[in-house]
């Protein structure tokens, strides 16, 4: 597999029909629409931005505090604040046309129909290159269970979104399950083009002076380096279970962190909390991946994806 290296290894990848010039993306809810980070990074040097999740109806989001720093991590409970799909399409989406990288819309919902409806409307817009399904929202119809924690519901949401668009469909899995591989298989079977692995881990922090949870919403999602080992294992297991590409995420700050995910089987990575540690992270990570490939005389990411995971199914990613 080791071939002679040309002057520059190829960092571009392909996810279904979606081409990314770099394997590093801004994570949903952490990267705004990309513009917020434009002062710090040249957006032409990241693979893409996954937009903040949008829902059918407008949502004010949770009360504050919405953020709590924890050891090597961050708890958040934003509560999906967004203007709702109507206002979003009217006011926001047109601006994304200017991005020099891929723009991936993120769809959240509380019913299968929500996923179909919002996907349909958002994917219809030319500014949107692909759809990521955020199925880690509590499903109001099913005792607060999230779609991502039940193979049947995960499959149903995926099928509904699949029917609504032919654009690349990425489904984002939750780590709050016993067997993530079984969910991944179900979602692959339901027509997803790729999987985002993983969303935040559920957690809580209590203020012992005020005798109440620190987050306005009581519990929230844990992200950052603290969860990296959990996320790497999730990618490892999903890479053995399915053949579609994986976008790894959870605690990536450096190229070496990203490479853990890639060697486990991810074709690309999202950086969320890592931007809050260093706003230049996505470009620094891509640069480091390039140097790593050069040092090993590898010519493309295909040489790295899944390389440390003997059980990983083959998933060619180079365009």
């Amino acid at each position: 597999m080791v071939r002679l290296a040309p002057s520059e290894p190829d960092l571009s990848i392909r996810i279904g029909t979606l081409r990314l010039a770099f394997p590093t993306l801004g994570a949903s809810g952490c990267y705004g629409s990309g513009a917020e980070y434009a002062p710090f990074v040249d957006l032409a040097h990241i693979g893409g931005v996954v937009l903040k999740s949008v829902t059918r109806e407008p949502r004010l989001g949770n009360g504050t505090p919405r953020l709590v720093p924890t050891p090597s991590g961050l708890l958040n409970a934003i509560g999906l604040q967004n203007p709702g799909i109507d206002a979003y399409l009217r006011n926001d989406v047109a601006k994304f046309a200017a991005r020099p990288c891929a723009v991936i819309g993120s769809v959240a919902g509380f019913s299968v129909d929500d996923y179909a409806y919002v996907t349909d409307r958002l994917a219809a817009r030319d500014e949107i290159d692909a759809i990521e399904l955020n199925i880690s929202c509590p499903n109001v119809g099913s005792e607060g269970e999230t779609f991502a924690c039940d193979p049947r519901l995960a499959g149903a949401a995926t099928r509904a979104a699949r029917a609504a668009t032919r654009k690349p469909l990425i489904v984002k899995l939750s780590p709050n399950v016993t067997d993530i591989a079984s969910i991944a298989r179900e979602v692959e079977g339901a027509g997803a083009d790729a999987l985002a692995v993983v969303n935040t881990v559920r957690g809580m922090s209590i203020d012992v002076d005020r005798l109440e949870p620190r987050l306005g919403n009581e519990s929230g999602g844990l992200s950052g380096p603290a969860i990296r080992p959990i996320a790497v294992l999730a990618v490892w297991e999903v890479a053995r279970a399915v053949a579609i590409p994986i976008i790894g995420q959870g605690g990536i700050e450096t190229a070496r962190d990203a490479l853990e995910f890639i060697l486990a089987g991810a074709s690309a990575v999202c950086i969320g909390t890592g931007n809050f540690t260093d706003p230049r992270a996505p470009v620094r990570v891509a640069d480091g991946i390039r140097e790593y490939l050069i040092a090993r005389k590898w010519v493309s990411l295909d040489d790295a994806v899944g390389r440390a995971n003997p059980g990983a199914r083959l998933r060619p990613v180079a365009p």
Partner: protein
């Protein structure tokens, strides 16, 4: 507050001087010429953690002149402790300047500055600018105890009247800064305040009662500091969010609100636009 034109970037600085201004309070001088030139009163930076693995820390720019800016650190947790432990020569990256600062022009010629605790750090550049503009300035400054009052004399050196308060009465008035009697009597054209949220709420009530426009610099836990994560919001009058008006048109209860980002739409807000 309207968006000011600043172009933030990551500045690679080094610590030029370090002073323990009070127990648990450290002032770090940084060599950061571009930042010193760009900053406006009320803006902040995100200080990147030296070893990674934590989110950056939001810090007001305390002083700025020539090549130097300074940060005032009150040690409350891991990140402020790590930053306060930096010694002269240490390298520190900061992203900034960020946020919208105070609206100087709107404060008028007779200004009350109110500071609670580390809030003092956001007001020094403002006091300097007010002095340059010829405004008369009074600083009302409250802290836990006498030890925790930092650099009050530096404000005096700028020509400000300084009135102090401490929770335990160890210096100045015993009580909250907003309890200082002359705040209810003296004439001001504008108020600017920075401190914990309980204090800022009291300032808002005072301003409403006295019908003085107040600019409040809010604190909240930040993650990105650049408007990307929506973690730092405050309820803002929906009408104000589009077209600020004073005094508010409708009674408090009926107004619709939006969640505005403190780091981006603020950190300085008009008191009457907040819907706490």
């Amino acid at each position: 507050m309207p968006v000011l034109e600043t172009s933030p970037s990551v500045h690679a600085t080094s610590v030029t001087d370090r002073r323990e201004a009070a127990p648990g309070v450290v002032i770090l001088g940084l060599d950061a010429p571009a930042l010193a030139a760009a900053v406006r009163p009320g803006q902040f930076v995100m200080a990147l953690p030296v070893g990674g693995e934590r989110v950056a820390t939001a810090l007001a720019i305390y002083e700025a002149s020539g090549r130097r800016v300074s940060l005032m650190l009150v040690v409350v947790g891991h990140r402020t402790a790590e930053l306060a432990a930096l010694t002269v020569g240490a390298r520190l990256e900061v992203a900034g300047p960020l946020g919208n600062g105070f609206e100087l022009d709107a404060l008028g010629a007779e200004v009350a500055l109110l500071a609670g605790g580390v809030g003092i750090a956001s007001l020094y550049l403002l006091a300097e600018a007010l002095r340059a503009s010829g405004a008369r300035t009074s600083l009302y400054y409250g802290a836990r105890d006498a030890d925790a009052l930092v650099d009050a004399e530096r404000f005096e050196a700028l020509g400000a009247r300084v009135v102090l308060a401490t929770d335990d009465g160890s210096r100045g008035l015993r009580g909250f800064v907003t309890d200082i009697p002359e705040l209810s009597t003296k004439t001001f054209e504008g108020i600017a305040a920075c401190g914990p949220s309980s204090m800022l709420r009291a300032v808002a009530r005072l301003a409403e009662r006295r019908e003085i426009r107040a600019q409040l610099s809010l604190e909240e836990t930040f993650a990105c500091g650049v408007g990307a994560c929506w973690g730092c919001v405050v309820p803002l009058d929906r009408a104000s969010a589009q077209a600020p008006a004073f005094p508010p048109a409708s009674p408090r209860e009926e107004r619709a609100y939006v969640h505005a980002r403190i780091c981006t739409e603020g950190p300085v807000f008009w008191a009457h636009e907040l819907r706490w």
